[in-house]
């Protein structure tokens, strides 16, 4: 066995330039595959982060239409509902229009109960609750703009015009990698009070409700019950699971995501072609040698081990190189994007696992044609072959 391993290692290094180019070819393809999968993962981050026990109630016509704050108490009465909170998409500009991160006006009393994935220091949270213009920001925002507790953040309002001043009173940590680490949250009351003075017709309106339910299995029934409450009203609602709500967001970009998904699998095909081509060339050049080995008594299984082993070495090394390059590539890609474009951007362990498994399978698949040829070639023909 060790001797066979030695032989296949030496065969792999027989044409060093070709092997190195193949390893790099596979590496680049694996890197591209992992990068694409990571981008797709980033698109789906919201869906991934969805909790099974959260429903979103929004305006039935569109998410952009507000709902009355007065719905809150009625929703809370629906059987199966354990907590109701709400949020408002504030938008606004921080520093300039290229600085993107979510800015939400939230119900500070209930919002963080429904979203336990935002981990915040208890003391900071209490201070936040006491100050009307206090804000909690994600650790990513704090890092990006070098913000500390007590710093002022000035927003130029667009949906809610005017200058808005907030004081950072809390910095939250995401519970895990699927949690957005770059959201800014502040008191809905602070926004609403000012809107009440400057644009009274827009006061008392929120963007959407987040409804925590007791049993995720009741999601459909609770959703139906909530929507029934507001049937034939001026602002009918549409309630769905948080996952479905996030997926609706993605539907606009579904063609792009589908294209990226397809591309990532096309890349697997490219790896197969790169490696398959190398293996076919190598096996053809060694037709004579394989015939000699067969004459000496080497079985088809042994020849398969030699050829598939060589192919696997190339694919495993290529995959390793690709994955090593993937980490800086993903980091560079994120830096090259406008700030906050993908707040959740990380290489999923599944992506690495899938790349490794793909590498192994492609390594095996790439050896099938040369193995078949070598096994099918009669010894006397192989001995006559001039490579």
């Amino acid at each position: 066995m060790l001797e066979l391993l030695k032989l296949l290692m030496r065969n792999t290094l027989r044409h060093k330039l070709r092997s190195v180019l193949t390893v790099f070819g596979v590496g680049v393809a694996v890197m591209a595959f992992a990068l694409l999968r990571t981008v797709v993962t980033a698109w789906y981050a919201g869906v991934e982060a969805s909790a099974a026990n959260r429903l979103i109630t929004r305006h039935a016509v569109s998410f952009v239409f507000p709902l009355p704050l007065a719905y809150r108490d009625r929703i809370a009465q629906v059987p199966g509902v354990s907590k109701v909170t709400y949020a408002l998409w504030f938008s606004g500009v921080y520093i300039d229009k290229n600085q993107f991160f979510a800015r939400l006006a939230v119900d500070s009393e209930t919002f963080f109960d429904v979203y336990p994935e935002f981990l915040i220091d208890k003391e900071q949270f209490e201070t936040f609750k006491r100050e009307r213009n206090a804000a909690i920001i994600g650790v990513e925002i704090a890092k990006r703009y070098n913000l500390k507790i007590g710093d002022i953040m000035l927003l130029e309002g667009d949906v809610y015009p005017g200058q808005w001043q907030f004081v950072v009173r809390g910095i939250y940590q995401p519970r895990d990698q699927t949690t957005d680490p770059a959201t800014m949250m502040f008191h809905y009351k602070y926004v609403d009070e000012r809107v009440r003075q400057e644009a009274p017709d827009r006061a008392g309106q929120i963007g959407w409700y987040i409804v925590r339910i007791t049993n995720p299995d009741d999601a459909a029934a609770v959703s139906e019950a909530i929507d029934k409450l507001f049937e034939n009203s001026r602002a009918e609602t549409k309630t769905e699971t948080e996952r479905a709500f996030q997926q609706n967001f993605l539907s606009a970009a579904s063609a792009v995501i589908t294209a990226m998904n397809i591309m990532s699998f096309v890349i697997i095909g490219i790896i197969l072609l790169v490696l398959g081509n190398t293996m076919i060339m190598s096996a053809r050049e060694r037709t004579h040698e394989y015939a000699v080995l067969k004459a000496l008594g080497f079985s088809g299984a042994k020849l398969f081990s030699l050829i598939a082993g060589e192919s696997l070495i190339l694919s495993v090394f290529g995959s390793a190189v690709g994955l090593l390059v993937t980490f800086p590539a993903v980091e560079g890609f994120q830096k090259a994007l406008p700030k906050g474009w993908f707040p959740v951007f990380y290489i999923k362990p599944q992506t690495i696992l899938f790349a490794v498994i793909s590498g192994l399978l492609v390594g095996l698949a790439a050896s099938l044609i040369p193995v078949r040829r070598v096994v099918a070639t009669r010894i006397v023909e192989g001995l006559r072959h001039v490579g």
Binding site: E3, R10, L296
Partner: protein
């Protein structure tokens, strides 16, 4: 009376080229006793190499049967044949056919990978085989670092290392200069004489054939 080591019975071989059936060997019958050094001579295309390949079990006859050491090799499956060859046949080719990425010692050890011997035993056998051919100083040389004659001697060591019943040599001196050819032939003669190896050799060279104990001529696929 002792049964011959090799018995070729009414063997014919033909190849198909498109619709054409080309006969290469016609109804060959031959017996080779153990310890024989038999040379096949004849013009190109007479079927010498084909007959050698059939006896060595790397090709199958169209008709007839071949027994080697009592085994009908024509009845064996490809897998059985591979195993049989590894135990019973040593090959010596015109162009040596050593594996270029392996040293002389590793090349000789190669057929032993298929045996249940331990690594230590394999090494010892390979070294012995190389010392028999006078190359114990070249164990760790790669084929490209050896002369043609030395390469052929490594190939002979590889052929004898499993102690096979027969050695088949197809133009073993065809690619060698006169001196190297003499050395290789002397070695083969010694293997036959001292170790009682049964050798079947195909050659065009009358001087090589002189070393054999018996010479058979083939003409147009028939034994003369």
């Amino acid at each position: 009376m002792e049964r011959p080591l090799i018995e070729v019975e009414n063997v014919s071989k033909s190849y198909r080229r498109d619709a054409l059936e080309i006969p290469v060997l016609k109804n060959i019958t031959l017996s080779v006793p153990e310890g024989e050094f038999l040379a096949f001579m004849g013009p190109s295309g007479s079927g010498k190499t084909t007959l050698l390949n059939l006896i060595a079990g790397i090709d199958k006859p169209t008709e007839g049967r071949i027994f080697v050491g009592g085994t009908d090799v024509t009845e064996l499956s490809e897998t059985e044949l591979a195993l049989w060859r590894s135990r019973n046949v040593g090959f010596i080719f015109q162009f040596y056919n050593l594996i270029p990425v392996l040293t002389a010692l590793e090349n000789v050890e190669l057929p032993l990978i298929l045996t249940p011997l331990s690594k230590k035993e394999r090494r010892a056998h390979a070294k012995t085989a190389l010392s028999v051919v006078g190359l114990d100083e070249r164990l760790h040389h790669y084929p490209r670092q050896l002369s043609g004659g030395q390469e052929q001697r490594v190939a002979i060591a590889r052929a004898i290392v499993t102690d096979p019943a027969i050695l088949v040599a197809d133009e073993p001196t065809g690619d060698l200069d006169k001196v190297s050819a003499e050395e290789v032939l002397a070695l083969m003669e010694r293997l036959n004489r001292e170790l009682n190896k049964t050798i079947l050799m195909v050659t065009h060279d009358p001087r090589a054939a002189e070393r054999a104990s018996l010479v058979r001529h083939l003409e147009k696929g028939e034994l003369a």
